[in-house]
């Protein structure tokens, strides 16, 4: 990738800044060749690569180095975008919002500082991957559970800072204390860590006074150098209930059946209902089923469901905990389902610690169209109300059909809210299709806004649009975020444009792609 300089920085100044970075981290860890820049592009980008191209990357090995880099970035006005492992596929990968930004690659800071099975937490540096933590748990026979995203290749810290989630729930809810470096280089520990040797840092979330952890999540006020994360002790038993519903309209009654049980606590994790498509895109190619450029028609869907042995909507539903409690809750769930359907739901009993580890297997779903592929996720949050969920699904599917794309949706119910993750798959080499993807995305943001639903997370290219849809009192919250941003980061060096939050130095770039 050819060099795109940070806005307003001359080539000579840029080179001086890189030389100053190199004096901190060593020349080897300033990555500024065409080949280096290539490795930080968004692999799945639905638009042009240069919309989100980094000018370089720099990789610190310690908190002190992070402090020194921030000082230089302020002096030379170089924006820095932190990534932990940078595997944020579907949302921008390892790329920045603003072209010319330097990536602050935290991958070398990858120590597992503590795992405590008595009190159920770990303290991690940003570069620790799900695979690393998993192997550590197995090698040391530590009976703690880990919430693992479908793509297991990322970092535990980066994922939590994006509010990533799994059926275990929203991973950012488990953050309990951070060590952060502010734009001026000052190191702060949040919560109980604000005390010199605060013993309850990873144990009690808030400390004394306002709570800062969530100010950093999905934000751009600081660089996280340590993160304390709660982990749940392994369960005694687990029960998997196979949910396989034959019709698109079955979603409504299933939400009506299960959401109240989740709210009352009979089901502990998120209830996940996912369309047939997810089971088809991973192991097969589209051309095995359908040649047309239209959205996959119903008769082909029927064949897919039959051949892959899946329903239109699919579970499984997992109950886990003490075995007697699981058995009691199983009866509750099956009794409740029986009020709505005569269908049987096969049940499998497992040991509670038989949690599957991280995997990269689902990544090949982007191969759906055969060649170089990509996907973006469209994920609004809405009420876990049966009728509204059914309508949301139907409206979304009609939009996919309108733009000739294959519907793939999942609803995660937490009892009150439903997070509706929709995948839009495309071929990177089909410009016409990518154009339709972008149109679909804009239509979906608009539809959601009309319903009063907003996305929980989005791709770099849509951060401004989604931020704009949070529009109460003329986007008062965004304005507040930007006032805080300007106060803490007057030169706007940390992740300008992250989640639509632009510092004054770069505000003219809002909406510019």
């Amino acid at each position: 990738m050819k060099l795109i300089l940070p806005p307003g920085v001359s080539h000579a100044r840029f080179d001086q800044a890189l030389a100053a970075f190199a004096r901190v981290v060593g020349r080897e860890w300033v990555l500024a060749s065409d080949e280096d820049r290539e490795t930080y592009l968004d692999l799945y980008s639905p638009g042009r690569d240069d919309s989100h191209a980094a000018s370089a990357a720099v990789a610190p090995a310690s908190v002190e180095q992070v402090q020194a880099l921030l000082k230089i970035a302020n002096e030379y006005r170089i924006p820095l975008w932190p990534i932990s492992r940078g595997k944020n596929f579907g949302y921008g990968g390892a790329a920045p919002r603003l072209p010319g930004t330097v990536m602050l690659d935290m991958g070398r800071m990858n120590r597992i500082l503590e795992v405590n099975d008595q009190l159920g937490y770990c303290i991690l540096e940003p570069g620790v991957g799900f695979f690393d933590l998993w192997e550590h748990l197995k090698a040391n026979k530590i009976a703690l559970q880990l919430g693992i995203p479908g793509n297991g290749w990322g970092s535990v810290v980066g994922n939590a800072l994006e509010r990533g989630f799994s059926p275990a729930g929203d991973h950012s809810n488990n953050i309990c204390g951070l060590e952060i470096v502010l734009p001026n280089g000052e190191v702060v520990r949040t919560g109980m860590g604000a005390m010199g040797d605060g013993k309850a840092w990873p144990l009690f979330k808030h400390g004394f006074g306002p709570s800062w952890d969530q100010m950093v999540v999905q934000g751009n006020l600081a660089i996280v150098t340590k993160l304390c994360l709660w982990m749940k002790p392994a369960d005694e038993a687990a029960i998997s209930i196979e949910i396989k519903l034959p019709k698109p309209s079955d979603l409504q009654w299933c939400v009506e059946a299960l959401a109240p049980l989740r709210l009352q606590g009979a089901i502990e994790g998120l209830v996940r209902l996912t369309s047939f498509q997810a089971s088809v895109t991973v192991p097969t190619l589209r051309s095995q089923w359908h040649q047309g450029t239209d959205s996959i028609p119903d008769d082909v869907i029927a064949q897919m469901m039959q051949r892959m042995n899946v329903g239109w909507w699919n579970g499984p539903l997992r109950l886990a905990g003490f075995s007697d409690v699981c058995e009691a809750n199983l009866k509750r769930v099956l009794d409740r389902l029986a009020k709505f359907t005569k269908q049987e739901f096969p049940v499998t009993r497992m040991r509670g610690d038989a949690q599957p580890g991280p995997t990269t297997y689902p990544l090949q779903m982007v191969n759906w169209y055969g060649g170089r592929g990509g996907h973006i996720g469209y994920s609004p949050v809405m009420p876990a109300d049966p009728k509204l969920v059914q309508e949301q699904f139907e409206r979304t599917r009609r939009r996919y059909q309108q733009f000739g794309l294959d519907y793939s949706g999942t609803f995660y119910l937490d009892g009150r809210a439903a997070t509706n993750v929709n995948l839009i798959l495309y071929s990177k080499d089909d410009e016409d299709q990518k154009q339709r993807v972008r149109q679909l995305f804009q239509a979906l943001i608009k539809d959601a806004r009309e319903q009063g639903y907003g996305e929980y997370r989005t791709h770099l290219s849509y951060m401004d649009d989604v931020a704009a849809s949070y529009d109460y009192n003329h986007n008062a919250l965004l304005k507040l975020n930007e006032r805080v941003k300007d106060a803490l980061d007057p030169n706007g060096i940390i992740a300008p444009g992250r989640n639509g939050i632009w510092p004054k130095a770069y505000r003219a770039h809002r909406g510019v792609l």
């Binding site: 692999l43 991958g107 290749w153 990269t360 297997y361």
Partner: protein, 112 residues
């Protein structure tokens, strides 16, 4: 005693065929496990997609004898179809050299 003999008998042919790795190749094997294994061993997405494109026999990189150093380097840094590009932070140059040595190591001739 008999158990020991049996173990020896079982171990012998394996030892005879096993790759004897140099220090560098063995460092490369470690780097492979850490940086590539999650996609390129059993159950990984690289293995699956390569099986789809080249057939099962070519799908496990560690068993391949036809990989060229320049090709490995190029694929790792520039990606290939849906293989993501890996930066010098993820795979530092020293690891890359070791990896390449491991994946392109001379293999004993196949057993008749």
């Amino acid at each position: 005693m008999t158990r020991w003999l049996l173990a020896l008998a079982l171990a012998l042919p394996v030892a005879g065929w096993a790759d004897e790795l140099t220090a560098q190749q063995s460092a490369g094997q470690k780097a492979f496990a850490h940086r590539c294994g999650m996609c390129h061993r059993e159950g990984g997405t690289g293995t699956f997609v390569l099986a789809r494109r080249l057939g099962a026999a070519q799908s496990l990189l560690e068993q391949r004898t036809d990989l060229k150093p320049e090709y490995i380097r190029y694929v790792v840094r520039w990606g290939l179809m849906n293989m993501p590009r890996l930066s010098r932070v993820e795979v530092p140059e020293t690891d890359m050299t070791d990896l390449v040595a491991y994946l392109t190591r001379p293999r004993p001739a196949a057993a008749p």
